[in-house]
Assembly symmetry: C2
Homo-oligomer: 290 residues x 2
């Protein structure tokens, strides 16, 4: 039984792209679509946290996910409301009491001067509590997921210059988010999981972005045991994945992939003779797109 | 007369990549290279500014370029010394007197709490002074540059998952820097220009990364009138480039490119019948690599 994904990109949303005019290599006039990036300022209660550049869809999920992934909000914290003001480009996450993060920040501001810097230590600390579950990844799921994701209408296919992240279960894409920054796309998924009370243990996380330490940390914090990308690895990403027991699969294009951590979760059930090499037709067009 | 580039990637440097072992799609053991990312903490005099994740080459150029591109240092500021400590992962930029930025920061820390946020307004302000010169971009240079860059031995070709930025004059790559973050690669070039007293007016800037507002702002701050990428555009990047009079060329692969700002600088002197489409052989392998 196939069920439709719960959240999909909406490339037809006129707010997300703009038509612009230019010239091509022959000097001829061309019209093309480009993605929009707009500032979104995030408040946690009365405190201004950060201004993010985002395409602007799912601001509530982005706000919650950012705070969760920066360990400024704990998964057990209660959120009263998330108020988004489209005109001002402001989103406010409200909790009934001052959060642990706000209390800490008061003590640390004078020494650090930068909220981002302060949080990083906490981020690594919080990883000590992560225990990723046993799980299975069948290679047949992997190829079906890649095919489904690459052929789904998206802002990427419409305008390029964007990242995608997809929360999956077995061979089914559930939630597909895009953004100019790959971390925004991840954060939107984390926020969606928090709002919908979804846990990560039975999920697979697919990203178009590189498998850096930050990406590994965020996936582990979401409790997801398997991270897949069509892009490459960094050494620290691989090292952290091994330490955390996360399955890390990269350079997944056409038939090929490489697993550099947690390969024991992989079940090689796919007959590779039946997997197509990536054709130009459904290749994501962004060689080098970041 | 062809001259050799002044700075090139050094994929043979053992500090920049690590060999790791994994399995491929058939379950067979594979050994592969991945890029290293390490933390580098930057001080401006006594003030801790930021910890960056970087591959670790050219730390002095990265430090100077970061400060310049964040408008924490002005091109006219005098720098006494840049001290790098490899063991500690610390780089200190020393100026004879407290910089204008440090003075401002003291006033602002209490309201903002984040040095990064504080600086963004200043960054936009500083753009008011930018006047980009008349310049010429011949399409024959563009194709020769792309070919030279794509066939230069690099960390990208060795391990993927990395960004490249190249400072060029006419059809010659001068300085080719790579890093895990595309902004680090740009900053290293800005730092190199500052240290070597190079101005931007007669240069072309090539990046593998997307043409976002930040990339446009940094290029304009370096005084470079032409920005080229194999990746795509964001709407704000295009808008800013038009406002600043910057020539913005994207999706440059094989024969194709699109100019979405400043097309009047382009001279279409290349006979396209003699340009190869990008072959798999010298295609950068990172479809989707960020």
């Amino acid at each position: 039984m196939t069920q439709a994904p719960l959240v999909l990109p909406d490339p037809a949303d006129p707010r997300l792209t703009r038509r612009v005019v230019g010239v091509d290599q022959t000097g001829a006039r061309v019209e093309t679509s480009v993605v929009v990036e707009r500032p979104l300022t995030l408040y946690l209660n009365a405190r201004e946290i950060v201004t993010m550049m985002t395409i602007g869809d799912h601001p509530e999920e982005l706000a919650l996910g950012y705070l969760l992934n920066q360990a400024m909000l704990k998964p057990t914290d209660i959120v009263d409301a998330v108020d988004y003001d489209d005109d001002l480009g402001v989103v406010v996450v409200r909790t009934p009491a001052e959060t642990n993060f706000e209390t800490k920040l008061k003590k640390k501001t004078l020494t650090s001067g930068c909220a981002q810097g302060t949080a990083f230590g906490d981020l690594m600390e919080a990883l000590d509590e992560v225990r990723l579950p046993r799980a299975e990844l069948r290679t047949s799921w992997l190829y079906r997921l890649a095919h489904a994701i690459n052929t789904t209408p998206s802002l990427y296919l419409e305008a390029g210059a964007i990242h995608g992240c997809v929360l999956c279960r077995r061979d089914r894409p559930l939630v597909y988010m895009e953004d100019v920054g790959r971390h925004n796309a991840v954060d939107k998924i984390a926020g969606w999981m928090f709002r919908n009370g979804e846990s990560g243990g039975d999920k697979i996380f697919y990203t178009t972005g590189r498998l850096t330490s930050e990406m590994v940390i965020k996936t582990a914090r979401m409790g997801i045991p398997i991270l897949v990308s069509r892009s490459g690895f960094t050494a620290w990403g691989v090292e952290l994945a091994n330490k955390l027991g996360l399955t890390l699969i990269g350079r997944a294009k056409g038939k090929r992939f490489v697993a550099l951590a947690g390969a024991e979760r992989i079940v090689f059930d796919q007959d590779l003779a039946y997997v197509e090499e990536e054709s130009a037709r459904h290749r994501r067009k962004g060689a080098g797109d970041e």
